[in-house]
């Protein structure tokens, strides 16, 4: 009797629940199908087009987009300009792209436009330079503080190799720091990591020069500075802006290096490695821009497509270029300029 009742109950349950389950499964398949049918467009917004450091990210983001079967856009002002970059982000909001990965500063203007994009239903992540005060989904890049610290440690090694005493407090080692703009969180973190590491030494920051994220201006400022301050001991390049020109375009820098100047910096790319090969740079710390391009895209895609929540910080790690691996790096990195 009970068994009969249970059997009857089971049948009823099956009769009631099975269609519901079937309907639910079919619905899920439809949603999946719809999502597959939709063309996903994700835009990368680097700081500018004229900075070749982003070309690795550009290349690998495109390749990843092909793999994912989505549209990739790569848009920025040719020369860095905050207003123009924000305008481009606004145009992406107007065009209702599905997501964007931007390299920005942690300033109110950028925070505002990122938040507006998110309010418009666009998934926003940052790469290279973060805006943590915004509601961006995640940031992919290096630990900039750590990068600064690694660069400082590399500098100390170079000084040791050259038998320069960096602990002798009587004689200071005057240092010039060249950065993009103050307020760019990534750059400021690199400086902070660098300064914390050399705090106990006799390395003293004489000047911090801002090049407004401009390659051309950075070259000009560097040459001017060395003409006026040939006695400077150390230069720390927070980014690789002046490394895009051949050594012949940097005569003062060449002369200063010959005279024993020590230069270290962040960003590894083909032209920077050539300068290092010529002896103008002694130690470089590089970002993995390729990973920022490919992994940044795939992470955002997974979030848009599948709702996969990413970690807030995605560390891409750093690589270093010193005398030991320079030859190998010159073979793996490719020139960006048309010859």
């Amino acid at each position: 009797m009970f068994a009969q009742k249970n059997r009857l109950l089971f049948v009823l349950i099956v009769i009631i629940i099975l269609p519901a389950l079937l309907t639910s499964a079919a619905g899920a398949e439809n949603i999946q199908a719809n999502e597959n049918d939709e063309e996903i467009t994700i835009a990368y917004v680097p700081r500018s087009l004229d900075n070749p450091i982003f070309l690795d990210a550009f290349e690998h983001a495109q390749e990843k987009a092909i793999d994912l079967g989505i549209n990739i856009e790569w848009v920025a002002p040719f020369v860095y300009n905050e207003e123009a970059q924000i305008k481009i982000i606004e145009s992406l909001i107007a065009r209702k792209v599905d997501g964007m990965v931007v390299s920005v500063n942690n300033t109110p203007e950028y925070i505002d436009v990122i938040n507006r994009a998110i309010e418009a239903g666009i998934a926003v992540a940052t790469f290279d330079a973060d805006a943590p005060d915004s509601r961006r989904l995640f940031h992919i890049g290096i630990n900039n503080y750590e990068a600064g610290k690694v660069t400082a440690e590399g500098l100390l090694t170079v000084l040791e190799n050259r038998n320069i005493d960096y602990n002798q407090q009587e004689k200071k080692l005057d240092t010039m720091i060249m950065t993009g703009v103050r307020g760019a969180l990534n750059l400021d973190s690199r400086i902070e990591g660098f300064l914390d590491t050399v705090e106990a030494t006799n390395i003293r920051v004489q000047d911090i020069v801002e090049n407004q994220d401009s390659v051309n201006l950075s070259v000009e400022l560097l040459e001017q500075y060395l003409q006026q301050n040939p006695e400077i001991d150390i230069i720390f390049f927070v980014g690789g802006w002046p490394f895009y020109v051949p050594a012949e375009a940097l005569p003062n820098f060449q002369q200063w290096s010959k005279n024993g100047g020590v230069a270290v910096g962040i960003d590894i790319f083909y032209d920077a490695l050539l300068l290092q090969e010529r002896g103008l740079l002694q130690y470089l710390v590089g970002q993995d821009m390729a990973t920022m391009g490919s992994k940044g895209l795939s992470t955002l895609y997974n979030y848009i497509k599948y709702g996969a929540e990413p970690r807030e910080y995605i560390e891409t790690g750093v690589e270093v270029a010193d005398d030991d691996n320079l030859e190998r790096l010159l073979q793996t990195h490719r020139p960006w300029r048309v010859k």
């Binding site: 467009t41 835009a43 087009l49 004229d50 070749p52 070309l55 550009f58 290349e59 690998h60 495109q62 390749e63 092909i66 549209n71 990739i72 856009e73 790569w74 848009v75 920025a76 002002p77 040719f78 020369v79 305008k87 481009i88 606004e90 145009s91 107007a94 065009r95 490719r334 020139p335 960006w336 300029r337 048309v338």
Partner: protein, 584 residues
């Protein structure tokens, strides 16, 4: 003809006064040329202004067409470029998805396109677009809806270049895009090379100041607006389109506009100038106002002048008319106050002179009549003195008693003629012939009465004077004086000569006697009294001479009258001068 027309007009509107006629005439004469010349000048000026505005508008749209075509031509030159190695490589590697090798070409294209953007103001973006909508431009790489993009495109006249209607581009800018096809040698797929032109460039091209309400617009061949100052209208079909944009004047939203257009064959666009008629005609209105105000001022001046002139002309005439009327009603005390030297003043002076003359003549006539009556009475009194009559009648009786009937008959006949001629039927003027006869009768009677103690001779040389008229009783009183004061006191045989002749249009009578004569002092006194140089209170003194003299002077003026010459104890001559030129 005009005279008749004016008469009819005046009669029709019952205008009869000279003043009103003068006012209307002056107004017509004064205003007509002013109104005609004002109207003519205004129309000529209006035509010139309209021509100038049309020419200016046409020049503006032509200049805009040239500027636009120059601008577009430069863009087209860039778009119609020959094979470009970097572009070709980029296309080839993009089609192959070779991103690793392609990134340097992408960088090069970004750099090139941005350099071009810097060189050409208003050039917002330059792009290469693939058939699947992928695009590389000065802003990077992105995707567009190519189908939608193509739907906006239309070709120019050559078919090599296409234009889009205005739309919002990638950067949310209002642009039009110029598009050219590019066929790379190394790839089968052709791509589109395009340039986005900021609509502000068109705004700058149309940045000519026609006025606040005036504006320019640009429309395509279908009349769809490409550029309009009111951006909401961009992309819409122009209401002005009428199988093109023919030049015309039209009403739009209650405003009058002058439409001037030109067609750009390079772009297939119409450039249209909409000049506000109000603003164009503002200058005309100013001229119209000035003309109107000047006409009103001139009209006022003419009216005031007309009233003044017509009054100054008609007032003396009215006064003259009024005084003439009073004069016609026997009021001869009237006198016009005349000033100036014009005809009216002369007419007034003549009127015054005429009235004075009439008064004088009337006074003279009255005085003359009085004198004449008095003389007649005196003459009759003398002539019908009982002594004269009785003596004469006794003589006649004596002749009858002596049966001298012939002489008695002559005496009666002479006496009758004497009295008849003395009365002359009451006429003042008599023929000299009759006056001579009267004197003859008188001398005949007196000669007979005085026993033929003297002779007399009547000698009129110029017989033509016999038919002239003179006041009656001119000669008889003088002859009577000659007999009674000259001959009768004398003891010698007396002679009276009455001579008449004409000299220098004057008629002279000389009555001479060979009597006792008059003392020189007396002659001088008589002549002084006669010429007015000596006054006398005794009205009876030399009454006969003075009577005749005054009557002649009254009748013929001061040059006429009597003059006495005498040689005491020998002769006396009274000369009567009648100046016919001084007669009334």
């Amino acid at each position: 003809m005009f005279n008749n027309l004016f008469k009819k007009l005046f009669n029709k509107i019952e205008i009869h006064t000279i003043r009103t006629k003068l006012i209307i005439s002056f107004l017509i004469i004064g205003l007509l040329p002013i109104l005609l010349s004002g109207l003519l000048s205004f129309n000529i000026y209006r035509g010139a202004i309209n021509d100038r505005i049309s020419a200016y508008s046409q020049e503006m749209v032509n200049r805009m067409e040239r500027d636009l075509e120059d601008y577009i031509s430069e863009i087209e030159t860039f778009l119609s470029r020959e094979q470009d190695f970097y572009i070709n490589q980029f296309i080839k590697l993009t089609q192959a998805n070779d991103f690793r090798n392609n990134r340097k070409y992408a960088f090069r294209i970004w750099e090139d396109f941005n350099n071009l953007k810097q060189m050409k103001p208003g050039l917002e973006d330059i792009a290469i677009t693939f058939q699947d909508g992928r695009r590389i431009s000065s802003y990077g790489t992105y995707n567009i809806d190519l189908e939608n993009f193509r739907a906006r495109m239309y070709s120019d006249s050559s078919g090599d270049i296409s234009f889009t209607s205005p739309y919002t581009n990638y950067l949310q800018q209002e642009v039009i895009t110029i598009v050219s096809s590019y066929y790379p040698e190394i790839a089968e797929e052709n791509v589109l090379i395009s340039a986005d032109i900021d609509l502000d460039v068109l705004a700058n091209l149309t940045d000519f100041n026609l006025g606040e309400k005036s504006y320019f617009l640009i429309a395509d061949q279908n009349g769809d607006i490409i550029y309009h100052p009111n951006q909401e209208l961009i992309g819409e079909r122009s209401l002005l389109y009428n199988a093109g944009f023919p030049d015309r004047k039209l009403n739009l939203n209650g405003e009058q506009y002058i439409l001037t257009s030109t067609f750009s064959y390079a772009t297939g666009w119409y450039i249209i100038s909409m000049a506000s008629a109000d603003e164009v005609e503002a200058e005309l209105n100013y001229i119209t106002d000035i003309t109107l105000y000047m006409t009103l001022v001139v009209l006022l001046i003419i009216i005031l002048l007309t009233i003044y002139l017509s009054s100054s002309l008609s007032r003396p005439i009215q006064k003259l008319q009024e005084l003439t009327h009073r004069a016609s009603e026997n009021d001869l005390s009237v006198k016009i106050d005349t000033s100036g030297n014009d005809e009216i003043a002369e007419l007034g002076q003549s009127f015054n002179k005429m009235i004075r003359r009439i008064n004088k003549l009337m006074e003279q006539n009255v005085r003359e009549q009085k004198l004449l009556r008095k003389l007649e009475m005196e003459s009759l009194d003398n002539q019908i003195k009982p002594h004269f009559i009785y003596n004469t009648l006794d003589l006649i009786i004596g002749l009858l008693e002596n049966k001298d009937f012939d002489r008695a008959t002559h005496m009666v006949e002479a006496l009758g003629k004497f009295f008849r001629l003395s009365l002359s039927h009451g006429k003042e003027m008599v023929l000299i012939r009759n006056e001579i006869k009267h004197v003859k009768n008188y001398l005949f009677i007196q000669q007979f009465r005085h026993g033929e103690e003297y002779e007399y001779i009547i000698d009129v040389e110029d017989h033509e004077i016999m038919d002239k008229h003179i006041p009656k009783l001119i000669l008889q009183p003088i002859v009577e004086n000659a007999i009674y004061h000259g001959l009768l006191p004398s003891e010698k045989k007396g002679l009276v000569i009455v001579k008449g002749y004409r000299e220098n249009k004057n008629i002279y009578f000389k009555i001479a006697d060979n009597g006792v004569g008059i003392p020189a002092a007396k002659v001088e006194e008589i002549n002084k009294i006669l010429t007015g140089r000596l006054k006398t209170d005794d009205q009876q003194k030399y009454f006969g001479l003075r009577n005749v003299d005054q009557r002649l002077k009254l009748m013929y003026g001061g040059s006429s009258g009597l003059r006495v010459e005498s040689v005491e104890g020998e002769k006396t001559t009274v000369i009567i001068r009648i100046d016919q030129r001084g007669g009334n």
